[in-house]
Symmetry: C2
Subunit: 282 residues, 2 copies
């Protein structure tokens, strides 16, 4: 199976529409139709059900969508890591660390300091990512190592070491009735009619329906909260970045958040290993 075929199939499986998928791929629709049916013939499997008005995935198609994405990621990772290895010999032997923008910045600073003092340490390019983006960077080889947050990020397929675990707090506008409470239950904050949870854009850039305000950055969320328009549930350490407009109240039954350092399981990089060791010594 060629990666071109996989890319074609993934596009159709995601769009569930040959015309749009072809447009996205920058080719015409007929060759796409042909490529897919040829793939189906070679696999001996029906991947898509073409009902007269809609295209749907078969069971086999769903499997190929999942496995194909992983395979495409692996191919892309091979490409990126090779490019970076080639750059490394011509003078820039850096390592790329992906971390969520605006999260646990003092942990990151300590880690970078600890690593920098190691013998043989190397430049660390820090990539600040939007939520969940680190995972993708790591899977596609654009990053060598990442700081992830269980259970928010999907750790499957990575090697990880836990760095620390913390509870979550609700961020409320100053003056809100609940700010007088010493602690809260999750059920008390998820269904507040006056403070709906904010809506985040999905992978396709559109917002889901719902009552909450739309936001696409951490600072927007904070501002919306201090304006009394929404409420946040965040890990405890995020309190360090708050100002006086908002109040944090612990949520006793929210799932704990574990900060981990993660890297691809077959990494051979000395720098990654050193970074992980430095992180564990913190």
């Amino acid at each position: 199976m060629e990666t071109r075929e996989l890319r074609y199939f993934v596009a159709v499986a995601e769009e569930l529409h040959f015309g749009r998928a072809a447009q996205r791929l920058g080719i015409a629709q007929p060759p796409l139709s042909r490529a897919i049916s040829q793939l189906e013939r070679r696999l001996g499997a029906t991947l898509l059900r073409r009902d007269s008005r809609s295209v749907t995935l078969t069971e086999a198609g769903a499997v190929l969508l999942h496995e194909g994405r992983a395979a495409l990621d692996a191919v892309e990772a091979a490409e990126h890591r090779t490019r970076r290895a080639a750059l490394a010999v011509t003078g820039h032997p850096g390592v790329v660390l992906a971390t969520k923008a605006g999260a646990s910045s003092e942990l990151l600073a300590k880690l970078l300091n600890a690593y920098a003092t190691e013998p043989g340490s190397v430049d660390v390019d820090v990539m600040l990512c939007g939520p969940g983006e680190q995972e993708r960077l790591l899977r596609t080889g654009r990053a060598d190592v990442a700081i992830l947050h269980h259970p928010f990020d999907n750790l499957s397929g990575f090697d990880t070491e836990e760095l620390f675990t913390e509870g979550q707090v609700a961020i409320l506008p100053a003056g809100h009735p609940l700010t007088t409470r010493g602690s809260l239950q999750l059920s008390e904050v998820t269904e507040l009619p006056d403070l709906p949870l904010p809506r985040w854009p999905g992978d396709d850039g559109t917002y889901p329906d719902g009552p909450g305000p739309e936001a696409r950055s951490h600072s927007q969320l904070l501002q919306l909260t201090s304006l009394g328009r929404t409420l946040l549930v965040v890990p405890d350490s995020a309190r360090s970045q708050l100002n006086d407009d908002v109040v944090a109240v612990p949520i006793v039954d929210a799932p704990d958040v574990t900060t981990v350092i993660a890297w691809p399981p077959h990494s051979r990089s000395r720098a990654v290993a050193d970074l992980v060791r430095a992180a564990l010594r913190l």
Copy 2:
């Protein structure tokens, strides 16, 4: 990057010889040369150093060899799992379990029995493998779940659950002087001139040089041992398959062997999850 290019590069990187690689790929040498240099141009990286008498990997080439193998495995896995998913809907919803031939058969029997009594259990195709073969089957999607042995098998990139841990014993021919001992040290058995360790064929089917006898199956090894031609170091549980011609003596400082059940981290299979749960209840 297309999988064809990756396959070509991996072939050359493994053979370190364009002619042989081309032969292995079933194409002529010139198109192979061209494909590789084109790949190098597109990546902007020199992958191979063509000295006048030999071909060697550059740093970037070594990275691409590693990552490329993983990527090719992932593509192959996508293909196999899709094929099997398609077969599953047409009547045969089985799950493939890979295990080492001749190892811990009573564990396997208990596992299969426990799983078979579960509601919604499904046919289990057991693949008996040569040493280390399970890992490859799992990585390339020909198996859904495997029984592996740490530290012999490389578990990186799999999700695993430990089933049990045991020490290792030396298998000696009956009557050998060391059989009178209650326990041994590793150093006492690895360098015995009268009982050299056996040689095992590599991936290419050839045997490494050395004093020990050549063998390619478990039963051959046992026979060679009872004939007094070699000595084995095996996990404790392998004793159950011995006859009276040989004697097992514990090795106190050999690394413990952990039997684990392993599956690809992104597995969505109900059957795999049930099998793992059954294994953990043993």
